[in-house]
Amino acid sequence: MATIDLGKHGAHGSAPVNDDRPYHERYQAAHHFVDREHEFDAVKMGVWLFLSTEVLLFSGMFVAYAIFRMMYPDAFLSGSAHLDYRWGLLNTVVLLLSSYTVAAAVRHAQTGNQKWLQINIILTFIAGLIFLTIKGVFEYYKKYSEGLLPGKFYSYPYAENVPYEPLWWGIYWGATGIHASHVIVGMGLFAWLYVRSRKRHFGPGHYNAVEGVGLYWHIVDIVWIFLFPMLYLIH
């Protein structure tokens, strides 16, 4: 029985105890994969499949938007007029910048540049925080205090004679709320990545997690890219 193989195919991918190489170098694929490339391919496919479910999830929201936009264009126009496109635009810029930083994080993981990997993870996390702050303080809170709330909580005192405007607010809060919850989940994932990157888990041999989270973050961006014109810029 050869023991030299323990490094490559050891029990459950753990490495020999006396190996002091960084984790991403000594990392071995989980026991049911042949090697790291095999695992990497599988993980990548899994992530893309998951992203397709995300697209389908939001597509339901977009269908609802399209239908009611066609049925009640006036309600949508009047509702949209309450939104300030400048905040939306700022948030779009923030998210686009974060797309850059997360792409950079993946690149630095691939090249093993630990310092910039960590910096970019933090920057992306901060971008998520800025997005939520703008959304929460300057938009949600303002709408909340004006009574521009969905459904039965709608109590805008100067409600013009546009029927079904509460429906628009239902869609606005629903779509942006589901999106914001994805931003929060993404920030959680970046916190997790940061902890792992501090332990030098990522490097040229092993950056699945960084890339997967990065792809997820891009989807969150793309959804916003669609939401922004649909909600803020319609005429």
Partner: protein, 595 residues
């Protein structure tokens, strides 16, 4: 052991070469250590077994609710001139006999409980999560599914979803029907949380379904053993693969639908409420866009099991392997464009005509499968084990279920049969007569592999007899009643239907009896069953030819290299050494593509 072997196929041996290869069922020290081991396991076999137990328990609960429904329908509820109510058997049983409204409420809730449990907690996860989990890696020659921890997560998500569903049931249940149609789901039980809990349960269970499906798609793509191409996979794997694709692509839509439904119920955002400008038919579209594909999530795994049973049960190469494989994909594809046939009465005429035409399309690949199975039986050496009896029953029952589906797909006929017992009978013939029958057959077939014990064939056959007779006695009369206009969902009926309703209720009793016979058979097997050989049926898929019964923790002693097709009974017929025991198949014959 030679160290030269440490290439690709040596992976299994690297660390475990000289260790004891215990069965996956072996305990890990003490009782609590074993419990902890099961709770935290990432072994697909253990997760599959835990799913199996949970699903069978849920099947029991859902079955009890079904018996409650049948009990109420044993007699028509009649209010005589003095205001005396009779025949509301369910209400009387729960002490609400004096109030018609209250006893009807019990009926409605029992019916909803039955529907929700059977659909979301039993049939959707049934075969993929239990047998699929157990068998997929074994049949592919892999050590596990692609993402074992995700697999465990999906199990706990299933438990969490079940928890919310049961929480809702313990709070008096809901009155929405399993479809959660608005406005039932937005207006009933106002001021109570039980509908919210039930919708939350369905939402959470969706994640479990997505994760299982995602895991299986990647597993099939990435973890096939050396030598196993796409068309060397057992057809069970093809069926599970088609199912998994639907699970991944359809379930997110029910996710967003249920989120919007919760928003509607809690915030009244108005999207499904016409008073606020919304449209309840939109809910139906959203719902069926998921729930029609999910009908095939329910039936494809049943068909998947059928392939294995029919081929092994008739000792014959399956007829038209590629046709069966592609018909699986065809069903998965078509399933996404036929949702409108659930809504013939609530959409425009043109849409109804289009959906009707598309609906007929799905009959074609389904029929391809049926014809291929029948052709496989032709001149086969058919053995009448319990599981093969179930396979034959499937052919019979699913054909009835499928053909009556064509009645319902025709617009003119559907307008008469819509919302009658004809529909109830139709989908029970497909869901129970198809999926559950195949599921029970599959459990019998793989029982020796899963538990390492043989079940008693006589007990199994007796159980099969009662299930088959009971099932037909329960549901065939419902075709008759439905075609004569008996509407579905009602707690009572005019006395003309009494005979057939009583017939049906008695049938449901027989059906339950048969299922309890099986339960007894399984428990007896666990307690005192004979030890199972590795390949008791002489089948040719990898879990029988290359793994012990029960399999070791990492499935195979050596990573299997595929040398014969899954149904090559013509070239590698396993030799029967003594009754019920087969030797491993001979090497592939000269001239076969695996030689």
């Amino acid at each position: 052991m030679a160290s030269i072997d440490l290439g690709k196929s040596g992976a299994l041996h690297g660390a475990h070469g000289h260790e004891h290869h215990g069965s996956y069922l072996e305990g890990k020290g003490g009782f609590w250590a074993t419990v902890w081991d099961w709770m935290t396991t990432v072994d697909h076999k253990k997760i599959g077994m835990m799913y199996l137990v949970a699903i069978l328990f849920m099947f029991f609960l859902g079955g009890m609710a079904a018996l409650a429904v049948r009990l109420e329908l044993f007699a028509p509820t009649v209010v005589d001139a003095t205001g005396q109510i009779s025949g509301n058997l369910l209400g009387q049983m729960f002490g609400a006999g004096d109030s018609l409204a209250d006893s009807n409420l019990f009926y409605n809730r029992a019916m909803t409980i039955h529907g929700i449990i059977m659909v979301f907690l039993v049939i959707v996860p049934s075969v993929p999560a239990s047998l699929g989990n157990f068998l997929l890696p074994l049949q592919l020659g892999a050590k596990d599914v692609a993402f074992p921890r995700l697999n465990l997560a999906s199990w706990y998500i299933y438990l969490l979803g079940s928890f919310f569903a049961i929480l809702s049931l313990l709070n008096y249940g809901v009155d929405t029907g399993w479809t959660f149609y608005t406005p039932y789901s937005t207006t009933t039980d106002e001021g109570h949380l039980r509908v919210v809990w039930m919708v939350t349960a369905a939402f959470i269970l969706g994640f479990s379904s997505i994760f299982t499906g995602l895991n299986f798609v990647v597993t099939v793509h990435k973890l096939r053993a050396p030598g196993m191409g796409w068309f060397d996979m057992p057809l069970f794997v093809w069926g599970i693969y088609g199912t998994a694709i639907i699970q991944v692509l359809a379930t997110p839509v029910i996710g967003i639908t249920l989120i919007l439904l919760l928003f509607e119920r809690i915030f009244h955002i108005g999207i499904f409420d016409p008073r606020l400008g919304g449209d309840p038919v939109l809910f139906q579209h959203f719902f069926w866009f998921y729930s029609h594909p999910v009908v095939y999530v329910m039936i494809l795994p049943g068909m998947a099991i059928m392939n294995e049973l029919i081929a092994a049960g008739s000792r014959k190469k399956i007829f038209g392997y590629r046709a069966v494989a592609f018909s699986t994909l065809a069903i998965a594809g078509i399933s996404f464009i036929v949702w409108g046939h659930h809504m013939f009465t609530s959409q425009g005429e043109v849409a109804a005509v289009v959906f009707s035409a598309l609906t007929f399309l799905v009959a074609i690949p389904s029929a391809v499968k049926i014809f291929n199975w029948i052709s496989t039986l032709y001149k086969g050496s058919i053995i009448l084990t319990t599981w093969n009896l179930y396979a034959l029953a499937f052919l019979f029952l699913f054909s009835i279920g499928g053909l009556t589906g064509l009645f319902l797909g025709s617009l003119a006929v559907d307008l008469h049969l819509h919302d009658t017992y004809f529909i109830v009978a139709h989908f029970h013939y497909v869901m129970m007569g198809g999926t559950i029958i195949a599921f029970i057959g599959g459990i019998h077939y793989w029982w020796p592999k899963m538990t390492g014990k043989m079940y008693n064939e006589t007990v199994g056959r007796i159980g099969w007899f009662f299930v088959f007779v009971g099932f037909n006695a329960t549901f065939f009369p419902q075709f008759l009643m439905g075609s004569r206009g008996m509407p579905r969902r009602y707690a009572s009926y005019v006395p003309e239907y009494e005979f057939w309703h009583q017939f049906s209720t008695i049938g449901s009793g027989l059906l339950a009896l048969g299922l309890f016979v099986h339960l007894f058979g399984f428990l007896a097997s666990l307690a005192a069953g004979k030890k199972a050989p590795a390949n008791p049926w002489g089948a040719l898929t990898l879990e029988w030819t290359h793994a012990s019964s029960p399999p070791i923790e990492h499935n195979f002693e050596h990573e299997p290299v595929v040398t014969h097709g899954p149904y090559d009974f013509d070239t590698v017929l396993p030799a029967q050494t003594k009754p019920g025991e087969y030797s491993l198949p001979r090497p592939a014959a000269p001239g076969s593509k695996y030689h």
